[in-house]
Structures are given as structure tokens and as C-alpha cells.
Symmetry: C2
Subunit: 377 residues, 2 copies
């Protein structure tokens, strides 16, 4: 769900990127009607920030929709460059790729940092619950405006995969194929992890009930929330391999066996330095209220909501689906993804399941893009 | 590491206990010399709070040492009653059971809440790093004072297992058998979890650098730390089984699909209510500085410290060891416990390995005591 794995204090934790791809166009679309939300509230003047790559053909039938993960943005060429690599999943000679920033985010679409046209104030903590389905409905209006009636492929990892799947349920005639990566209904452990992250933010001395000052956001809390999340994005195996029980690479001494031995807080281990670095980076690039908004979107995702049975909900799907599980993912375990694909297949849907062998954990769809591309081909 | 699994808001999460066993004697022992610590500092006037069950025989050779886990106390009859059950691991007709509160704890032994005799102030955050080995050395003096030269069995789970094992390395003639339950050297993931817990406490508005007022401790932070820990004490499977995606049992609505739909913080899921309840209970029974002290003791445990090789360290052991791994433990995975037992066996030590099949996670040694007893017999 991180948009990328960042290096830790100068060391090469992140795999080498093939480079950043600039969008053909990056812009905004304002819905002309208010968006009625599943929670019963309505959002007026909804803005969707989006980026496109490649050209829409005359028949307008070469569109691919990429849905981003929690902390991602519309700039898929920046955070998922390798799916555009030659021989990869997408081709800019063929495809018109569109990626739309999720509602609630702080990367351009309407979110808690936006002004509520009804009050003239920013929404802040009063931003309503926007469901995955609400996102799909808003995104559909943007595609309408571009004259795109049919999407060749919708794909995404994590909460992006929730969106890709919801597209196939709620707008079944519109998507030919969907790739749903590293995701299944959020488990009790997933809900638990999000609950801890919420508290980390709410306990920050600068939280102010969500009405924090723009110049004084709850940075510490957001950093801790990110670090809690990082544990679920990576794997114990990867951590052992990369960090083990090494002292932090800046020379701190966790044992303090010399004269600095005093105190309850000792020198850090390497893994602690890494996590602090991840938190530090994140608190400067994301907004706490946006983070909470999207956590709630994720928590409440239930593809069966409003249907009487899995057969009724999933029976709507006309797209061919491809599910990808990640062998070391413990946030959305491979087995849960495989079981989910089975449930959907039982509704008569074409639902393929493939498994990515990786020790990167949930983040593998971002950290090992070449392997993902190989699997999706 | 919890001393027991507590019910969640009235529901029977905890297994039925066989009852609480009162100690024969509960008291304190003050070391007559200062305790030189591995970190280089010294503690003067060290107090060990301990409890005994049963009677020491005339030969003083019927002692059993129980070592408690992070948040435990000397009152082993309260938190581990079933190991005393008839036909169980311990018999009060035969054994003299002693359990000594760890240094750093808030349950009677010297810790951050004690007065430093050198300054006349409580140690607070200046309490030094006390290693597992330091604990063993202090405990040995208490056994000396009781005339106990030999211990039939030393046993403990989690950080209690670290102590039991260190006894066999550092006082090899004294322990006949040791049962080391659900523990191995703390992995990078374990260090990561402790790092997050530390931050949860330090971010509390009432933390005050550790010099918090006794009437105003960092309660929120300690609660969050406990909740983070709970994730690692339990298993995803258990959480799914017990809580799934149910709304909190008090009737909160996580979806807020009616008119309460606004806001970034929705009604809680059941797992969130459970975690909050765990945090709530814990913050009223434990001290934040003590928690940090024992986390540091745990983090820095390295049985090889001061030895040139595993062969040199583990080759000292004369006791027969029994390691117990828990199938669903992800804090100290069964495979890690088994590998650790193998490493020790390679040094020529008798080291048995047994595995507890349980979906309770790390906490199984407390939550499923009858099963543990069966395995240890």
C-alpha cells in the first residue's frame, strides 16, 4: 500500500526503478451533480484528479483503468513504472491508461483537506465515509465524460484491487478483464491493524480532534501509523534478512554496554532505524485526515453489501478476473485471496488465481514489479 | 506475555480458570551487595519480590523456579494455575515452587518506580538496562539465601523462557531441567513490534520524557502499546474465528450507513472493541516505565553475549532442556523455536523440542494451559 519502498538512511532497500514515466495529461474533472454516498450523505462539487498515459483511440476502446493503493496517487507512471515496460502488462502504443486519485486522498481529489461548498470550511474530520462503490460511481462519471464506454482492463493492488473488483460488480458491462492483486475482504487482523493506526494518530498531542492546524498536523501519530502499517506490508523473513538483530547503521548501540547504559530508551536496532525513516518520510507526504478517511473506506469494504448472497453479488460480474496472491503477504494472505477467488468462481465467474512467490510481503506488488508483470502476462 | 486473556466487555474470551492458588509465602529479599549490571552501571539496595508455593524439604532439593513473562508477577498461582493441577507439571506435595518478580517490573521488585538510594528520587526513565543475565544473577542470590543449591526445574514462557535458559548457561550446575516455552532470540519483526510500542508510549501527551506525574501517567500510550502487543500475542485465525468482521458487540455501526455516516472515525468493529478493552485493562495495572524497562531487557537478550561461539555458550549447559513451540505463534514462530533448539543441541546439549498445536498464537502458553501441561508431562 505504500507507493514505493524507500531507502533507509542511504541504504538500498528499494529495488532499482526502471524510471519514472510522465503522464500524457494530468488534470481534474468536477462532477456536475452531487455524489450521493452509500452512507446517506452527499458530496457537492466533487473533484477527481487523474492522470492519463498514451492516447485514446478513435473507437475509444483502448482504455485501461489503474486503481491506486492507500497512499498512492494518480501518477501510476511514477509508482508502478514497470507495468509499462516493453513486453509488460501495458503498452503505450496500444493502451490509454487512466488512473484516478481516490476520494479522501490528499493528492488532488476531493478529501478532508477540501473546502465543503456548503459551509465554506475544509471538511477536516467531518469528511464523510466514502465507500469503494462511491469511488467507482464517481470514476464512472469521469469515464463517461471522456466517452469511454468500455475498459479493456481494470487493475490494482490492495485497496486498488478492491476498486477494480467493485467495478466489475457495479458496472458489469464496462470492464472486460480485471486484475485484483493482493486483496480479499479485510480480516479481523487487518481491521485490528487499522484500529491501531487510527489510535496512533488520535493520540498525537497535535491531533486536536482532527481540527489540527495546517502548519501543525499530528506528525508523530502519522509516522507511527505508517510504521504499524509497514509491519503488515513487509514480511518477517524480509526483515530478518535485511535487518536481523543488527544495531542501527548510524552506529547507535542498543545494548549501551559502555557508559551510556542508562535509561529506558536505548540505542536503536537497524529495523527501528528503518521504521523511523519510513515514518519520517511518510509524515511529510501524507495528510492524517486523508489517511483516516481511506482507512475507513478500506475497513468498510464489503462487496456483498446490498446483495442477498455471494451468488447475487458476484453473479453480476461479466469480466474475466485474475486474482494474484503474494506468498508472504500476511495482511491479505495468499490463502485468503485464493479462497476469495474460489467464492467468486462459484458464482459462475471466470476467476483465475495466480500466486507470486516473494518474501516481500504485501508490498511485493510494488517492490517486485518485474515478477508481477511476468505473472500477469 | 499477558498474564491472562481477559474477557471483552462481558463476553467469554478467556478460557475458564481452574482457580487461583494462594502462595505459601510472599515476601521480599534485599540483596546485601550492589548488583553490578552488564551495562556497566550498578544497582544498590536491590529488592526482589517473590512468592513461594509448597514447602522446601529438609534436603532443600525440591525447588522449582518459575520465571514470569513481560507483564506477569511473582504470583504464578494466579496466572498459571493449571500447571499445579493434579497430575500436572508441578505438585505441591513434592515441589517447592518459587517465582521471582523481574527487575524493572512494577510488581514489587526494584524497577523504575523505586527510589534510587543514591539520589533519593525514583529512577523513572533513568532506570538502567537490566539484562536477563543480571536478573539471573540477582535471583541466584535469593536462592542462595534460602539455601537452595539445586533447582529441579526452571521454566517459563516468552521472556520467562529467556530467563530459564539463561539460568542453564550462567549457573550450569544449578538447574537439572529447563522448559523454555514459546521463545527464541527476538527476530527483527519482534524488535520492530517493541519499537512501535515504545513510540506509542513516548508520543502520549502525558509522557513528559518519562518523568510523568504518578497521578497522570501516559495511559493512552500504554494502552496502545498493549494493543500492538496483543496483535503479536494472538493469531489471525483466532481473531477471524472470534471477531471476524462483526460490528462491536455494544451495537456500534462501523458502516454508519444511517445518518451517523459522517466523520473519519466510524463505529468500531468487534476486534477494535476487544483491543480497546485489553488496552483499558492494562493501563490500569501496569506502569509505562516498567513496560519500557522490560522491553529493553527483552530486546537486548543475546545468550551468546560474551562468548565466542554458540558452542562455547551453549556447551556450558548441563541441564536437560525442553523447548516448546506454538504452532500459530508469529512473535516467536514455532520454526524459530525448533531451529533454536537445534542450534543448542549441536553444542552437545540434551534439547528436546515439542510443538503445541493451537490457534491462540503466542499467548497459548497462558490461554491453553491444560494443553501445555499435557505436552510437558
Amino acid at each position: 500500500m505504500s507507493i514505493m519502498t524507500e531507502p533507509h538512511a542511504g541504504a538500498g532497500v528499494a529495488p532499482t526503478r526502471t524510471g519514472v514515466l510522465a503522464p500524457t495529461y494530468e488534470g481534474d474533472y468536477v462532477l456536475d451533480e452531487q455524489l450521493l454516498l452509500e452512507c446517506g450523505r452527499a458530496l457537492a462539487g466533487v473533484n477527481l484528479h487523474y492522470a492519463v498515459y498514451g492516447r485514446l483511440n478513435a473507437a475509444r476502446d483502448n482504455a485501461v483503468l489503474v486503481c491506486h493503493a492507500l497512499s498512492g496517487s494518480a501518477l501510476v507512471g511514477s509508482w508502478w513504472p514497470e507495468i509499462f515496460a516493453p513486453g509488460g502488462v501495458l503498452s503505450l502504443d496500444r493502451d490509454f491508461v487512466i488512473c484516478i486519485n481516490m476520494l479522501g486522498s490528499c493528492y488532488g481529489s476531493t478529501g478532508p483537506g477540501s473546502v465543503d461548498p456548503e459551509t465554506g470550511n475544509i471538511y477536516g474530520p467531518d469528511f464523510p465515509l466514502v465507500s469503494i462503490r462511491d469511488n467507482v460511481r464517481a470514476q464512472a462519471r469521469l469515464l463517461d465524460s471522456l466517452g469511454i464506454r468500455r475498459v479493456r482492463l481494470a487493475l490494482g493492488g490492495s485497496i486498488g484491487g478492491m476498486q477494480a473488483l467493485d467495478w466489475t460488480i457495479h458496472d458489469p458491462g464496462r470492464v472486460e478483464c480485471a486484475a485484483v492483486i493482493g486483496v480479499a475482504p479485510l480480516s479481523a487482523m487487518g481491521l485490528a491493524l487499522n484500529h491501531l493506526q487510527r489510535q496512533a494518530i488520535e493520540h498525537d498531542p497535535d491531533w486536536a480532534g482532527g481540527y489540527y492546524l495546517p502548519q501543525r498536523p499530528p506528525r508523530q501519530g502519522l509516522s507511527l501509523a505508517r510504521q504499524i502499517a509497514m509491519l503488515s506490508y513487509k514480511s518477517a523473513e524480509l526483515f530478518n534478512e535485511r535487518f536481523g538483530r543488527n544495531p542501527n547503521r548510524n552506529g547507535e548501540d542498543p545494548w549501551g554496554l559502555d557508559n551510556q547504559g542508562g535509561g529506558l530508551i536505548g540505542g536503536r536496532f537497524d529495523i527501528a532505524g528503518y521504521l523511523d525513516h519510513q515514518g519520517e518520510r511518510f509524515k511529510d507526504r501524507f495528510d492524517a485526515n486523508s489517511y483516516l478517511a481511506i482507512l475507513r473506506t478500506m475497513d468498510t469494504w464489503d462487496p456483498l453489501h446490498g446483495y442477498s448472497s455471494p451468488a447475487e453479488a458476484f453473479g453480476r460480474i461479466r469480466a474475466r478476473l485474475c486474482f494474484v496472491g503474494i506468498s508472504s503477504d500476511w495482511l491479505f494472505p495468499a490463502q485468503a485471496v485464493s479462497d476469495f477467488a474460489n467464492t467468486i468462481r462459484e458464482a459462475g465467474v471466470h476467476a483465475d488465481y495466480r500466486e507470486m512467490a516473494s518474501n516481500h510481503g504485501h508490498d511485493a506488488f510494488l517492490a517486485e514489479q518485474a515478477e508481477l508483470v511476468r505473472l500477469l502476462q
